[in-house]
């Protein structure tokens, strides 16, 4: 099309300034408007960091609880994966040792052969390697299986429950026993840091409503080990019901003071 323009009109187009003021201001205003829109969008829709906040923020909540078989066991925990009804008190058979037969060169004297005294072998430095339990081999020797924890492992020191206030403990000792049993089935000892000193006790208090549901667990006296404290509280939270409160008891709730001993 420009080929059709006359030469003069070309020159006229070159010499007269292009009208740039209006488009330039328009462009500047447009840029400013876009920038303002972006900034205002950011300020209006600003989302505060939800990480670690009270709501889950879409994260998956994982409850890692290992279950126990709800049966009592008299055997201590071991690595045996094979259940047997007849655990043997005999230890597992020893490993077969292959020995190289020692050759005695002086048993049959040979004429003319000088026997050089053998140099006494230096006592080898025995490296005492700790016995590694092989992880890919089932332990045998007919131990009772205890690979999956059983509720209520055998108790070494049975004793009477201590009851102080009120007469609930003397009237309904069986219910206090039931509380003990239920708590020992749900308390996961492996949640506790193994550096916790043996015999450390955390005292917690909770209430039991009429239908047996525990509520409001709190730490009464800490043991000094936060993992032990937390594991004891979690144990109460895991209990659905202790069984309905006895009919002969007239209160609406029962307050329980419980200790978890490592």
């Amino acid at each position: 099309m420009s080929a059709l323009l006359e030469h003069d009109e070309h020159l006229e187009r070159e010499l007269s300034g292009e009208p740039v003021a209006a488009p330039a201001t328009g462009s500047l205003l447009l840029h400013i408007a876009i920038a303002a829109a972006i900034v205002s969008y950011y300020y209006i829709n600003i989302t505060h960091n939800v990480w670690g906040g009270p709501n889950t923020g879409g994260a998956i909540h994982v409850n890692l609880v290992s279950s126990a078989i709800p049966l009592p066991s008299d055997q201590p925990p071991n690595q045996q994966v094979l259940a047997t009804e007849t655990p043997s008190v005999a230890p597992a058979p020893p490993e077969v040792k292959t020995t190289i037969p020692q050759v005695d060169e002086q048993a049959i004297p040979i004429q003319g052969k000088k026997i050089e005294p053998k140099p006494k072998p230096q006592p080898k430095q025995q490296q005492k390697t700790p016995q590694q339990v092989q992880q890919n081999r089932a332990q045998y020797g007919q131990e009772a299986a205890s690979n999956i924890p059983r509720a209520v492992q055998g108790q070494t020191n049975p004793g009477p429950t201590s009851i102080t206030q009120g007469d609930f403990g003397s009237r309904f000792a069986w219910y206090v026993d039931a509380i003990n049993r239920k708590m020992s089935t749900v308390w996961n000892k492996f949640e506790v840091d193994p550096r916790t000193p043996k015999g450390a006790r955390v005292f917690i208090v909770f209430s039991i409503s009429r239908n047996g549901q525990p509520g409001n667990p709190q730490i009464d006296r800490s043991s000094g080990s936060p993992t032990l404290d937390r594991s004891c509280l979690r144990a109460v939270q895991r209990v659905d019901t202790f069984g309905a409160l006895p009919n002969g008891y007239s209160g609406s709730t029962l307050n329980v003071s419980y200790y978890c001993e490592y």
């Binding site: 609880v65 290992s66 279950s67 078989i69 709800p70 049966l71 009592p72 066991s73 008299d74 994966v81 094979l82 259940a83 047997t84 009804e85 299986a145 690979n147 999956i148 492992q153 108790q155 020191n157 049975p158 004793g159 009477p160 429950t161 201590s162 009851i163 102080t164 206030q165 009120g166 007469d167 403990g169 003397s170 309904f172 000792a173 069986w174 026993d177 039931a178 509380i179 003990n180 049993r181 239920k182 708590m183 020992s184 308390w187 006790r201 659905d240 019901t241 202790f242 069984g243 008891y249 209160g251 609406s252 709730t253 029962l254 307050n255 329980v256 003071s257 200790y259 978890c260 001993e261």
Partner: protein
């Protein structure tokens, strides 16, 4: 402005008006108390001269003792160690006799039984022998028609009451039933029996082959797969009505097996080959809303729901070759593998939601010893425990509702029978003795 001053006045009133009813305190702790409760079940005292009384009493006594022994949580005092006296009421019992040697019992169950003109009347008590001030733990009274069945039922109920009281809130299983397949009538039909093997009776009379019965959570219907004119289909038998009821959607494709109820009774999962390879399908309990969950080209069979949450299923899949146990969410996502080899089949999820039981041949292959055994596995840690060994081919394990027992089928030689055991592999006992019996399923309550 006014509310600013009202709130601090109201708040203390609200907080101090919490319930102030009388409350007792109890102190308890770990490492106290014994592992197993030593329980003595005394023979009940016969009352009256009705000729039915001794017969019913014998049934009642033996059933009560067996129920308490089967529970797995008691150390039962054997009858030869019990004192000679037969206490019939709390006034007659001498607790010192029962807590002393050789009985050494912590608890004693006793009572009186009499048959009276066609009625069976039983009074039962459970006493704590060490608590002489307040010994009574339970007092129960039953009145039913006099018959062997009701004598057993009353014994079951009393045993359940004792187990519930002393067993930490878990209900007893003495009144639960087991549904299984038997060939006794000539064809494979669905049968039912009590949890201890008593009262075995036939339910279906279809004349064809029926397999894998699964009772619904409300004990109203049994879903099973049956060979009919459309091939293998999922069919329903109603226990309430005593006849078959319809289940639409269970027959398409002709290869529908292993139904599994969710614990709320709303959904039924099963494996169906209607789209080609066997996949897991889910339908509502009425048969509607049928949709597919798995879509891998190899077989996906034997679903079982997580009864605690109903949000997961475990199933068997051949996607890596030999059958292995997998879990997935109830929409089919998040498939996780649980077994690491061998040949694993027939998973069943425990009522607590934390464990699976299944049948596994860990050394599958030519030249390997073979033979399946029942295993349980803790799902969170993937630790497993082998419960049976050197005892035939064990398959189709099923948990009891209390999570303490497992029922399974065992084939030794030519016969296949149903066995039950505690969940730690002890106390294995054979429940069926006649014919071939397999694929047991424990009722939910």
């Amino acid at each position: 402005m006014k509310t600013k001053f009202l709130l601090p006045l109201i708040a203390p009133l609200v907080f101090t008006s919490a319930a102030l009813s009388a409350q007792d305190w109890v102190h308890a702790g770990t490492n106290l108390g014994n592992a197993r409760i030593r329980l003595a079940a005394s023979d009940f005292k016969p009352v009256g001269t009705d000729p039915q009384t001794p017969v019913l009493k014998a049934t009642f006594d033996s059933t009560l003792f067996n129920d308490l022994q089967n529970a797995g949580i008691f150390d039962m005092v054997s009858k030869s160690m019990a004192p000679q006296a037969l206490p019939g009421s709390p006034q007659e019992i001498n607790l010192a006799q029962w807590s002393a040697a050789p009985a050494n019992s912590e608890m004693v169950a006793f009572g009186a039984l009499r048959a009276d003109n066609g009625r069976l009347i039983v009074y039962g008590w459970l006493d704590d022998t060490r608590n002489t001030a307040n010994p009574q733990v339970l007092a129960q009274q039953y009145s039913e028609n006099a018959s062997q069945d009701m004598a057993r039922t009353v014994a079951h109920r009393f045993a359940d009451a004792i187990i519930e009281r002393l067993g930490g809130g878990l209900s007893g299983i003495a009144e639960t039933k087991i549904y299984f397949v038997s060939t006794r009538s000539g064809s494979k039909e669905i049968w039912a029996m009590d949890y201890d093997g008593q009262n075995q009776h036939q339910l279906t009379h279809l004349g064809s082959t029926s397999m894998s019965p699964r009772i619904s959570p409300d004990n109203s219907r049994i879903a099973f797969s049956s060979l009919g004119k459309e091939g293998w289909s999922i069919r329903m038998y109603s226990l309430d009505l005593g006849r078959m009821v319809s289940f639409p959607g269970g027959s398409a494709g002709g290869n529908n097996f292993s139904p599994a109820w969710s614990s709320d009774g709303a959904k039924l999962a099963f494996s169906s080959a209607r789209s080609g390879a066997p996949e897991i399908w889910v339908a509502d309990a009425s048969g509607g809303n049928l949709h597919q969950l798995t879509a891998f080209r190899r077989a996906d069979v034997s679903p079982t729901w997580n009864p605690r949450t109903n949000s997961q299923l475990a199933f068997v899949s051949g996607r890596t070759g030999l059958p292995q146990i997998y879990t997935m969410d109830q929409d089919g996502a998040n498939v996780q593998r649980l077994t690491d080899g061998g040949y694993a089949i027939s998973p069943n999820w425990s009522p607590s939601g934390g464990m699976l039981t299944f049948s596994w041949d860990r050394k599958y292959g030519p030249g390997a010893p073979g033979g399946y055994d029942i295993y349980i596995m803790d799902i969170a840690s993937k630790r497993w425990m082998q419960l049976t060994h050197d005892s035939g081919v064990n398959d189709f394990p099923c948990w009891s509702p209390d999570g303490r027992h497992i029922v399974f089928e065992r084939r030794m030689g030519r016969r296949t029978e149903i066995w039950s055991m505690l969940a730690d592999g002890t106390q294995q006992q054979e429940l069926t003795k006649a014919g071939d019996n397999f694929m047991p399923n424990w009722s939910w309550k």
